[in-house]
Symmetry: C2
Subunit: 245 residues, 2 copies
């Protein structure tokens, strides 16, 4: 199945419409909007879609990015190479080949695009499995949302049509909801343990953990196992001792 196109906090309805048109050109139809500034539905989006009405009408709106990607197992963040983050960066073709491999298992996939002015926040990028960066001329690097969506939709179709059928993995890959829940669980375990110190470093430390968990590429069973591990870790010490006896 083609990836979901997730526009994070888009500002102009016209950009949503031109993105929808670019999706439709290459058979990509699952449009998800996170907190669009001007609400939804949006008449400007509809008219700018140049007839890609099926994409506009089936678009879904979410309050948060976590909700928008909860059912997805592999997520790409499109952005320039960030300075302050150790996440893996790929070109569009390589990134979409990876995404397509997950999609072939039947799992949901998605691609994140940032707001017009400043793209994706680091907290948003942290939720992705990998970063895809376009090989633009560094002296003239600006791509608008519709152009970025067009390039990724094109590469999706190219890669998906070219790719051979691969054997399915034994277990379905973890969804983003699985990974987020695991991360939140880990934070709940670590906070009382005094991990997040000093306090002004806590946010960065937590984000780094999310990066590590997102990069892992676990399947659902593996995440369930880890949740079990955390469940044990968060019990008061005494209970753990009881099991030993």
């Amino acid at each position: 199945m083609p990836p979901a196109i997730v526009l994070v906090a888009p500002q102009l309805g016209e950009n949503i419409g031109t993105a929808a048109r670019a999706m439709a050109n290459f058979g990509v139809t699952d449009l998800r909007l996170v907190a669009p500034r001007d609400g939804w539905p949006n008449e400007k989006a509809r008219s700018a879609s140049s007839g890609a009405i099926h994409v506009i009408e089936n678009a879904r709106v979410f309050g948060t990015l976590d909700e928008a990607i909860a059912d997805l197992s592999f997520v790409i963040a499109t952005t320039r190479r960030p300075r302050d983050m150790t996440k893996r960066v790929e070109g569009p073709a390589e990134g979409l080949a990876e995404l397509a491999a997950t999609a072939r298992t039947g799992a949901g996939t998605g691609i994140l695009f940032g707001r017009e002015r400043w793209g994706l926040e680091n907290d948003e990028i942290a939720r992705a499995n990998i970063i895809v960066s376009f090989p633009v001329d560094p002296t003239f690097a600006s791509l608008n949302i519709a152009q970025s969506v067009l390039l990724m939709s094109y590469e999706w179709r190219r890669v998906a049509h070219a790719a051979p059928t691969m054997p399915e993995p034994k277990n379905p890959p973890a969804t983003r909801e699985d990974v987020t829940a695991l991360w939140e669980h880990l934070n709940r375990v670590l906070t009382p343990a005094g991990y997040f110190r000093p306090p002004d470093m806590a946010e960065k430390m937590a984000r780094n953990l999310l990066l590590i968990l997102s990069d892992a590429g676990w399947d659902r069973q593996q995440v369930r196992t880890l949740r079990g591990v955390l469940g044990h870790l968060e019990r008061p010490r005494g209970e753990g001792d009881d099991r030993e006896g």
Copy 2:
């Protein structure tokens, strides 16, 4: 060197400008305009280029397609798969890999984009070495000029950066001017020989010859040799006999 972007009879200055911007994003700068409807320079093109002024200011205008591509050795026509023509059709990645192989010899290359309403004419397509067709969803296939230029410029940069250095061929490839001259020479030889009959088929027959010559991928020396062959064929019979004696 990046390919020349050749816009054939573009109508709206705005489309020239957004195409120039798409070129600049991926480091492609040689813009050639064949008979732009509203003349040149064009203020709308400049403002729509969003700062890609270096592309706009260096753009060159030509009266005919033949003049615009005279110095090029490998030319791609971007179009939907034509019904009435036997020219080879490739995807963007494969087509640009071929183009890049020629560009690495130092020879000029180019990509043709058609007018807004109906694209390239068959006579124009016939001048290309190959056709590139985008893998669009057939139920929603329309791409505008800037989108097509963006996709081809992106693929150029991707392919050119990824490609290994290849050994140079012994002879430089023929330019379009070489091939056109060869074709015209052939027509001059064939017309008095009564080849182009019946008359209502003549145009189609000539175009088909141009296709065949364009597909061949000869080098300049080979074309020179063929011109010599034609030179002999067009002499009155008697002269040829003299040489034997």
